[in-house]
Amino acid sequence: MGDSTLPGVRVYRLPLWLCGAVLAGVMFVPAHMAIHNGQVTPILCALLAFGMHRAPFTRGLCVGLVCAIKPTFAPLLPFVALAFGPYALLGGAIGTSAALFPPSWLMEYLLYAGDITSREFPRQTLIYYLGTPAALTFTTLLSLYFALFHRGKESTYVTLIAITTIGTALWWHSYLPLIIPIAYALGRWGAWADREAEEPSREMAM
């Protein structure tokens, strides 16, 4: 954001991509639900966003911490490791190890987890319509494709987050991480629009 001075009038010049991203953020319904309920998902999204455009180890560490707090993101970790290399795997392993402490509570959680997986969740998700095995298979195959054939790209990281979110969502607020690819796409559009805007001035210079 910058400001420019027209004769006698001070104004702000806001990038359109930023306006679009803010509007998308304000209107995004899963965000309202998640914050209304006090869900931890916005914090996890911030962690995933922090991992963007970072070294592979940091990226893997952020994803690992997210998986340690909310295991439904677990399908994301192996494919991020595949796409970004061994340092991402190392970071992910270290981040995930936070879930191991204290071991007694972890054992209790693992005993309790069986009860969670047998629950029925409302109809809003791929898991409801396809069942857990089919939804996870879909997530795995699609993530594998992007991790193998589009390795090392920022867009791959964002795509993997989107696939994991859709494949493992259990409630409406579970779709909150989709704001990451939406905001990313708006930023990319902004970069493209700026490049397009530069073309007429290049033509004039020639």
Partner: protein, 115 residues
């Protein structure tokens, strides 16, 4: 020669402040007025789990509906020293800040990214 594409919105500062306030109000209404049900339902599970830990109990057997691994209950320990309503207020502010950071950072990375 092509017409230059518009990539910026030019806005008066006062209008910007009005729009920003309006968006914030809209967000608050959508989050805390539009949805029925008591706010902070899931926060209460995290809060009770942290409280259970402070009382040397188990977050899984003492608290219903706490379905996360141990780290989250440990992270919530500082908030468990506040009253639930105060804890939820602070937590909601933290969530909003985290969400705003997410949108801004992802947009900026998209702006800089070429692939």
């Amino acid at each position: 020669m092509k017409k230059p594409r518009k990539t910026h919105l030019t806005i008066h500062p006062f209008l910007f402040e009005c729009v920003a306030f309006g968006l914030l109000l809209c967000f608050c209404i959508q989050t805390w007025v539009t949805f029925s049900g008591k706010p902070g339902v899931d926060f209460r599970y995290y809060y009770d789990a942290a409280l259970s830990i402070r009382n040397h109990g188990s977050p899984y057997w003492d608290v219903a509906n706490y379905i996360y691994p141990p780290p989250l209950s440990i992270l919530m320990l500082p908030l468990s020293y506040l009253r639930p309503s105060e804890g939820y207020l602070l937590w909601a502010i933290l969530l909003c800040l985290a969400y705003g950071y997410t949108v801004f950072r992802c947009g900026c990375v998209g702006r800089c990214s070429r692939e």
